[in-house]
Amino acid sequence: MKHPLSVTEAIALIPDGSTIMIGGFMGVGSPLSLIKELVRQGKKSLCVIANDTAQEGAAIGLLIDAHSVNKVIVSHIGTNPETQRQMIAKELEVELSPQGTLAERVRAGGYGLGGILTPTGVNTLAAEGTQLVEVDGESFLLERPLKADFALIKAQQSDYYGNLKYRLTAQNFNPLMAMAAEHVIVEVEEMLPVGCIAPDDVHTPGVLVDMIVKSEAKA
């Protein structure tokens, strides 16, 4: 059984300089309570792997505003002018990865693969730093897997084993990241007794989840 920790206890375990994956797509499906606590505890020099940096003052954007992050690996920063400003001022390193490639890199990290071959980005700027691989006459980019020290993810429901169920488009990167990090902290809307999530409805098995916190954020 895993009894929920307080948000403060869970975040206190994360050292400065950690690489953290954060679920969510423009804030939808992001663990907002955990993100706010990272800022409150003044974490520094984080490397964040996420789809995007949301907006100024919102979700992952809060970490950018607080200068908690040295590097982001994301697919999109267009909705956050502050991320772009820090990138241009060289306060923040931004590695852009096509969204489907980013998802597969995280998946590869979690599934024990040495990389993935994707047709996306061949002969474009996204090919810089990757290796071109020919398979049966077709060109692919070899993209490397991503792993993290911590994954901060968000689920709709958890039982006390940590079995997780996500909701609609709040799922996005969360189940992939739950596989790809050394320590997985999940923020949940609702705690249920073991057995209340049917086996077929479990998106992420509880064995992958290390810590559970109850969301303090309004949905």
């Binding site: 797509f25 423009m26 804030g27 939808v28 499906g29 789809n51 995007d52 994301v74 697919s75 999109h76 920063i77 267009g78 909705t79 772009q84 990138m87 852009l96 096509p98 969204q99 489907g100 490639t101 980013l102 998802a103 597969e104 995280v106 998946r107 994707t118 047709p119 996306t120 980005g121 061949v122 002969n123 474009t124 700027l125 996204a126 709709q156 996500y166 909701r167 609609l168 488009t169 709040a170 799922q171 996005n172 990167f173 969360n174 189940p175 992939l176 998106h203 949905a219």
Partner: protein, 215 residues
Amino acid sequence: MKDKEIIARRIAQEIAPGSLVNLGIGLPTMVAQYVDKNDHVFFQSENGVIGIGGFPEGMENPSLTDAGGSFIGVLPGAAAFDSAFSFGLIRGGHLDMTILGGLQVDEQGHLANWIIPGKMVPGMGGAMDLVAGAKRVIVAMTHTAKGNAKLVKSLAFPMTADRRVDLIVTEKAVIQPTEEGLLLKELGPGCTLDEVLSLTDATLIIPDDLPHMDI
């Protein structure tokens, strides 16, 4: 009729009943409203859903948005999934069509739509996967931007994918990129050939039969 409505209405005619279609942010989103509901077209959003339909006025669900972050509704029969699956649909040959905005298209039919170096660096998001992976890529864009032609001889901005797009629809013209170059297929409502040529930097192939859009 406004320019964007012309573009959206014309592109809606390209969508086959029952197909799976991804709409980009902005102008492409407008296409959905001109598709017949009885055609049972499935609209995907790459953040993880098939079956977008209708706006949930007063019923917004914070866990249900499109790739632009806007609240959406879904129809009975919708399905939700994670990002790896979503891009598996896109790259794996399951997506019949993507409709995307564009900054420029060149004479080879290459699209640039994700970066203006030094000025605007939003990131490619899902655009590179969509252009590389969709069975059919349609570019929805106004014919010019601030008076500058968007159909150009060669791209001023980095391209999105090394793939020839299948169709370009502007308020002035329908253009099909081919092996030989950009083939002008139709003129926009009330447009003349001279007008299109004067607003286009790229060389166009002009057919003998050049109808106006039937919208």
